[in-house]
């Protein structure tokens, strides 16, 4: 097994296919979910795809050794993304609660006031 893995170590391309799939699933979910919470969850998928990309590019493309220290810029950005996502979820959920209080629904297809 270890040999197999060593022989077939995933390259950057494999990982990018994975994150692209993740991002696309997220986009699909955002455009199709009727429940606002579902939309938000799909959005999280997109964010996570981007965050994984940061880690990947840091791992594969950035020079691993720069004056003896390993570069962690991409990993740091990932932490940021996670933190922002968490904050965004909080705000988003708060909006949904307010919306439900107002309209008694969180179905995004029924929230079409933009056309007026």
């Amino acid at each position: 097994m270890a040999d197999f893995l060593a022989g077939h170590a995933p390259t950057l391309t494999h990982w990018l296919v994975l994150t692209s799939a993740l991002f696309s699933i997220g986009i699909y979910g955002m455009l199709t979910r009727r429940n606002a919470v579902g939309v938000l969850m799909s959005l999280e998928l997109c964010l996570n795809a981007a965050a994984v990309n940061f880690v990947l590019f840091n791992r594969y493309l950035a020079p691993t050794n720069l004056g003896g220290a390993e570069r962690l810029d991409g990993a740091v950005m990932t932490i940021f993304v996670i933190a922002v996502a968490a904050a965004e979820v909080v705000v988003g959920m708060a909006i949904f609660v307010a919306m439900y209080a107002e309209r008694r629904t969180v179905d995004v297809t029924r929230l079409d006031a933009l056309k007026d």
Partner: protein
């Protein structure tokens, strides 16, 4: 020559004062006080009149007695400078005819303003009326003083516009509105000819101007002083350019004459003048008797050397003038509206002036002086006739002479003044009209135009007849309506100006205008009263008066019998030879149907259709695109993502293509 005095160098003040007053009255005073507006307007014109009299006095004393009066341009400024050697200036041209007309216009205008303060009292739009009278006076004075054709043309149009405003003064009356439109359109149509004439003349004159080597002292091609130089005229006449078989000079002269014929209502453009009587009567006295309508005569006199050099153009002027004078006199014998009779007599007298110019030539310049003399005297007695008619209309509340009658007892002053003016126009010694008419007839006879002389004599007799016809019907006999029974004399603010004009109607013949107004560069030709002319014309005038007394002096039985005998002839003449109907037929049935209607159809359907189509397209596209606006965030998101994908695909393709 004596140095120029203040009024001569500042002659521009004379038109400027009415202009300032027009702006002041029209914009500031009109809403404030009607009385003040009238007073300011009258005072402004009176100031101009005073200045004009001073100017005339100074002008006559510029040269020693007996020498010809000069022609000078004391003030001029470049207005439009197109290129070196072609510019248009504005300025003041002072020569005998312009000074004479300045005096006439300002004097009659002042008297009419004064008269109007009484006549128009209590009318709505009183201040507006005075503002437009001032505008008219300014335009007319600018026209009189114009040193070149373009300034004259500009003022010419201003005069036409103010005439339009004043004829249509009672704009609630449909007849007044259509009369004002008719006057404006007919004269404007004629002015097209004037404009083309200016263009033709300007084109060739500027070429000659460019070819001249001597110093012209800043003279521009369209200046009268340049156009009437003998060497310039000789070159213009020598041009071998023909259009429709006519030389350039004749063509330009005839085109300019078209403009003059429109303003002076020569046949066949005469149709607007009788209808213009819809305006207030003082307006008719000022504009349609004494000043604006003589602008055409003035134009021909101003360009006289051009016409005289052409010769053929002068023949046109003479024939049209003689025909109009006869034609209008015939119609004048049958009209019932007192102002219309006066309008036709104005036409007839304008024809007189025109044919007087037409019989003149460099060798026999008497007709030129005579036309200007008649213009001068006619302005006063015709204005008086109109103001007298206004006074009568004011009392009787009708224009129809058959509603009047017996007014000499109720309105003695008006009656006396109207009689003076009637005698003056009939050409009875010693009233003003006698002298100028005698001069015109002598000019026609001595230049060898016997037929024109005969027509002139005949018209003199007819003038006496139809003027005394309205005089007898209006002032003699029994009152023919309730209003005529209770007619009252007009107030002195109206009778005062009329009396002044009455004095002028008697005395103007003794002012030696023909001595002062001479054609420059021609031998003086003035012989005083010619008995060979005076005796037949007086006999014919007296015969006309007697005939009028016979037919209309008492009860109109004889007149009615004659009318019945004449039958259709009389009705045809009374309908003005159906010229209005002819014009209506031509405009309505021919031009409207075959030219205007197809153009209107094209405009409504094709031009408007294109505009409507673009509007319809925009609306439909908007409606369709509006359907995309669902309000669904997810739909918008889909568009966003599709767009992003499309952008990526395109970008990828471009990069790939660039990479290879």
């Amino acid at each position: 020559m004596a140095p120029l005095s203040f009024v001569l160098t500042h002659a521009w003040l004379i038109p400027a004062i009415p202009l300032v007053s027009f702006l002041l009255v029209g914009l500031v005073l009109r809403p404030v006080s009607e009385r003040l507006a009238g007073a300011v307007a009258t005072l402004a014109v009176a100031t101009s009149a005073g200045l004009s009299w001073l100017l005339a006095w100074d002008f006559l004393h510029l040269v020693p007695h007996g020498q010809p009066l000069p022609s000078l341009t004391p003030w001029s400024a470049m207005w439009l400078h197109f290129q070196d050697g072609f510019g248009i200036s504005i300025g003041t041209l002072l020569d005998p005819i312009s000074v004479m007309l300045l005096v006439v216009v300002t004097t009659v205008s002042t008297l009419v303003h004064l008269y109007s303060t009484g006549y128009m009292h209590g009318e709505p739009g009183y201040a507006r009326y005075f503002a437009f009278l001032n505008l008219f006076t300014f335009s007319m004075l600018g026209l009189v003083l114009a040193p070149n054709l373009v300034q004259m043309y500009v003022c010419w149009e201003l005069v036409g516009a103010s005439s339009f405003f004043l004829i249509g003064f009672y704009f609630e009356k449909p007849s007044a509105v259509s009369a004002s439109k008719k006057a404006f359109i007919v004269t404007r149509f004629a002015d097209l000819g004037f404009f083309l004439g200016i263009l033709v003349l300007g084109f060739y004159a500027s070429q000659i101007h460019a070819g001249m080597t001597q110093d012209l002292h800043g003279l521009q091609p369209l200046d009268f002083a340049f156009l009437t130089r003998p060497d310039v005229l000789a070159q213009l006449a020598g041009l071998n350019v023909h259009f429709l078989g006519v030389g350039v000079l004749t063509l330009a002269a005839v085109l300019i004459y078209t403009g003059g014929a429109g303003k002076s209502a020569m046949f066949p453009l005469h149709i607007w003048l009788p209808d213009a009587m819809e305006g207030p009567t003082p307006v008719s006295a000022l504009i349609h008797a004494a000043t604006m309508v003589v602008a055409g005569v003035y134009l021909v006199a101003r360009c006289f050397p051009i016409f005289a050099t052409s010769g053929e153009a002068l023949t046109v002027v003479m024939c049209v003038g003689a025909f109009t004078s006869l034609f209008a006199a015939v119609i004048g014998c049958t009209q019932d509206d007192i102002k219309r009779v006066l309008a036709f007599s104005t036409l007839s007298q304008l024809g007189y002036m025109m044919f007087a110019l037409g019989v003149a030539s460099f060798a026999h310049p008497l007709g030129y002086s005579a036309a200007m003399f008649h213009l001068f005297t006619h302005a006063f007695f015709k204005a008086l006739l109109f103001l007298g008619a206004g006074s009568v209309i004011h009392a009787v509340h009708s224009n129809d002479i058959w509603h009047m009658g017996g007014l000499r007892k109720h309105m003695p002053v008006t009656h006396a003044l109207f009689l003076i003016a009637t005698l003056a126009i009939a050409g009875i010694y010693p009233f003003a009209g006698f002298f100028s008419k005698d001069e015109i007839l002598a000019a026609a006879l001595h230049s060898g135009h016997t037929v024109v002389f005969g027509v002139g004599l005949l018209v003199a007799g007819m003038t006496a007849f139809y003027m005394f016809r309205i005089y007898f019907v209006t002032f003699w006999g029994e009152p023919k309506s309730e209003h005529a029974h209770h007619a009252h004399e007009s107030p002195w603010v109206m009778l005062g100006p009329m009396s002044f004009l009455g004095v002028l109607s008697i005395g103007a013949g003794f002012i030696p205008i023909p001595e002062w107004v001479q054609l420059p560069g021609s031998p003086a030709e003035h012989e005083g009263i010619d008995l060979a002319v005076a005796i037949p014309s007086t006999i014919l005038a007296l015969a006309g008066i007697s005939l009028a007394w016979l037919l209309y002096g008492g009860a109109p039985d004889r007149a009615n019998a004659l009318v019945a005998k004449l039958g259709r002839v009389y009705t045809t003449i009374k309908a003005k030879f159906y010229f209005d109907e002819l014009y209506l037929y031509v405009t309505h049935s021919l031009i409207f149907r075959f030219v205007a209607a197809p153009i209107a159809w094209f405009d409504r359907n094709v031009v408007d259709g294109a505009v409507n189509l673009s509007g319809w397209f925009t609306r439909t596209a908007g409606l369709l695109l509006g359907k995309l606006q669902t309000g669904q965030v997810q739909t918008y998101g889909s568009w966003l993502v599709s767009g992003a994908i499309a952008a990526v695909v395109v970008l990828w393709g471009v990069l790939k293509a660039g990479g290879n």
